[in-house]
């Protein structure tokens, strides 16, 4: 079993000590995840040694976020940043994405939903509720994406399947499960799609797909 990849790490960022301990206890018990540490503020966070595995910071902070959290997207750019929200509100989600979060998850989510969100954020995915994903990403990137025309024919049937599910706000895991493909295979398809559409990231690919009617 030597080739199994290292489990993704989670850093719990919560101002209050009891929620911090509770999150640590809950997440430590989940298979496929490992808790790297907990922090209450920027000093605690920067004192943690850097992780070697894919990592997500779980934010349990009241909204609006303290100003120092905005710098984390520059100081820890490779970490996913998942924020716990009381409910899904489009304006708040867009504000959080602008503040550097890479995803949000509801406090009413189940433990498997939270775990999957943490895994997806660690992989670099944007974690959003499917019902709001396209609207939030469109609002976030409005005006930033050139409406370029690309031949849809350049995409294989499988790539079109992946793009359709991507535009519906699905995570890589959900796309993989829908098509009975591995997450790594989906990641390979996404790399090919980005190249063929001449886009730089998932957000741009989703926008391209929504513009071209792929979400139906």
């Amino acid at each position: 079993m030597s080739s199994a990849p290292s489990p993704p790490q989670v850093i719990v960022l919560a101002a209050a000590s009891l929620p911090r301990l509770a999150w640590e206890a809950l997440l430590t018990a989940q298979p496929g995840l490992s808790v790297w540490g907990t922090a209450a503020n920027a000093d605690d966070l920067t004192a943690l040694p850097p992780t070697r595995a894919a990592t997500t910071i779980l934010f349990d902070f009241p909204y609006p976020l303290p100003p120092w959290t905005a710098a984390l997207s520059e100081t820890l750019p490779d970490y996913g940043r998942l924020y716990l929200v009381d409910d899904y509100d489009l304006a708040q989600i867009v504000s959080l994405l602008q503040a550097g979060m890479t995803g949000v998850i509801s406090r009413n989510a189940t433990v498997p939903e939270l775990t999957r969100g943490l895994l997806a954020a660690a992989r670099g995915e944007v974690v959003l509720p499917p019902s709001l994903a396209a609207q939030a990403l469109l609002a976030l990137a409005k005006g930033n994406i050139a409406s370029q025309q690309h031949p849809i024919e350049s995409l294989t049937d499988r790539e079109q399947d992946v793009l359709t599910l991507l535009a519906q706000g699905m995570s890589n895991k959900d796309i993989a499960q829908s098509l009975f493909l591995s997450v790594r295979t989906i990641e390979a398809h996404l790399r090919n799609i980005y190249g063929k559409l001449d886009v730089n990231n998932r957000t741009e690919a989703v926008l391209w797909a929504v513009h071209h009617g792929f979400e139906a």
Binding site: S3, A4, P5
Partner: protein, 207 residues
């Protein structure tokens, strides 16, 4: 391992088979299912091929599944990146049956197989050692006693499971695939998986 060999190992499609007590789903599983969850979580395969039909998967009708699937592996896959691939056919896993004295002997052999598994401490003990070998021998006897029709059904099932697993491998080059099925099928599935030249069939401890 040389750099070339290491690169080759990373791009090879690897597949392993892990046996369960799936047939005895009406009796309590003798070991703690957490040990099965821990074993598979540590392997962290890309794909988890389970002996359930596509219809069962699509309808999410899991209540009738063995507890090893229903209570251990499906919840694990649900909250990790492990993708479930249903590889069973429309028919449920076949069970060797017969009437008359053959049926009575089969029932007796099943009692012995059940007894054999009562001391199993976890999935490792089930898949290795004397219990595994004796259990396999007894399963073979039940199939012989059940007759040609039962053996035909049995071989059609392992053919279905093997081909579906190989199709998953073909769709996911370079992936690590774990097939989890009833312990009695393992010995016959592994040689079928080995026939595919671009797939490496390996022991589950080396996946």
């Amino acid at each position: 391992m040389t750099t070339d060999n290491a690169q080759k190992a990373n791009t090879q499609t690897r597949i392993a088979v892990l046996g369960t007590l799936a047939e005895f789903h009406e009796a309590p599983i003798p070991y703690d299912l957490a040990s099965l969850v821990a074993l598979v979580a540590e392997m962290n395969p890309d794909l988890l091929c389970l002996d359930i039909s596509m219809e069962q998967w699509q309808q999410q009708t899991f209540y009738s599944l063995p507890p090893e699937y229903r209570d251990a592996l499906l919840p694990l896959a649900h909250q990790t990146d492990i993708v479930v691939v249903p590889i069973g056919g429309k028919q449920a896993m076949p069970t060797a049956t017969a009437t008359g004295w053959r049926g009575a002997v089969i029932a007796g052999l099943r009692e012995v197989i059940n007894w054999l598994q009562t001391g199993v401490s976890g999935p490792d003990a089930l898949n290795q050692g004397w219990r595994h070998d004796v259990g396999n021998l007894l399963y073979g006897l039940t199939r012989r006693l059940a007759g040609k029709g039962s053996r035909h059904t049995y071989h059609a099932h392992i053919e279905q499971v093997s081909q579906a697993a190989l199709q998953a491998a073909a769709n996911n080059p370079g992936s690590r695939i774990l097939v989890v099925t009833n312990i009695q099928y393992c010995h016959h599935i592994r040689p079928l998986l080995r026939q595919q030249p671009d797939v490496v069939e390996t022991d589950y401890t080396n996946l």
